[in-house]
Subunit: 205 residues, 2 copies
């Protein structure tokens, strides 16, 4: 394995991406024990046995490490949702799965993995780039399903597509955003199916 | 003014409901300065110049005082929403106003009046009786509008009414519940109209 890094300091020892992965793994472990907010880059450096300066060669801040952990988590949710949608043949069924699987995946990744919850809430509160990108991709996924349904004749075409995307995304928000999801626990069993049905009625041609 | 109280101790001086109102007014003032969570019944007693025991003759706990403040606030939201609905002639317009005015009234009463916010979040988190009753009445208001629209032929009748009420209430939740509303500030301008339109499309016969 050779380093192709353009890092300001020539890599000595392992390739840069290995060091980054090592830092992220140690940070995830450390955040899960002591919390994301409370941990400093100094704490991380001490725990890994690196100098603080060395960590700063790979990540410009603690948030940059948090962003990578957060982005990985959001990618995992997306992968699950995309796979579930791909399995369905018809646009209405794709939409039902979008509601169901994105709620289930968000619940599991944000809450059952408690170590991610604090990062996820910081990310959502401060609107990190990873979150903005995730929301844009989720809206794109929704738009693709809607367009497919408009072409197949399953969905109405009178309402501007932008409006349909925006309003359905608002309906899904309490089950996608960890800040709202933490207060929506009573309804995560029933809501995705109920809301998908309501949305499908709103889309009938 | 005479007291008709059945309080265990005979009222001496002002009528009971005057004393209750005096306690609630002082408590509201005190909560707004020092916060609901931090204030104790002893603090309130000191501030009003009553004994703690005297306050306990009128309210069994701090929460009982908070519940009354909260119930008054929720009644105010309801009164505004009901008045706005009564002004509209047609069920679709009633539904639009239900979304718009309940969001506006919730925003104003929970947030602009910061003193109520902490009580509102405690009430919503702990699901005080005032909140449960408010949700039931909000659902009843929604049900009345839906039933009127079904009778007038404005709304479809195939979906069970209970399901329609439940799913529309879920759509409105982020704008009614202060725990969700505090994280929905970016969308309070656009969302009520967008969501009302989506819901109206879902109700078309």
């Amino acid at each position: 394995m050779t380093s192709t890094s353009t890092s300001p300091t020539p890599a000595r020892g392992p390739a840069d991406h290995d060091v980054r992965a090592q830092i992220v793994a140690a940070a995830t472990e450390h955040f899960s024990r002591y919390g994301y907010e409370k941990t400093t880059v100094s704490d991380l450096a001490k725990a890994i046995g690196f100098s603080k300066a060395y960590i700063y060669k790979f990540f410009e801040s603690k948030q940059a490490i948090g962003e990578l952990i957060c982005a990985n988590c959001l990618r995992e949710i997306e992968a699950e949702v995309s796979a579930a949608i791909a399995e369905a043949a018809q646009p209405p069924d794709k939409l039902r799965r979008l509601f169901k699987v994105s709620t289930e995946a968000s619940l599991r990744l944000f809450f059952q993995d408690r170590k991610l919850f604090e990062i996820a809430t910081s990310a959502a509160t401060e609107r990190w780039q990873a979150v903005i990108d995730y929301e844009a991709r989720t809206q794109q996924l929704l738009r693709d399903v809607l367009q497919e349904g408009r072409q197949s004749g399953d969905f109405e075409r009178k309402t501007p597509l932008d409006e349909t995307v925006m309003s359905i995304h608002l309906v899904m928000r309490p089950y996608l955003n960890p800040l709202l999801l933490q207060h929506s626990m009573d309804s995560t069993e029933q809501a995705p199916a109920l809301l998908a049905s309501l949305v499908l009625r709103s889309l009938s041609p």
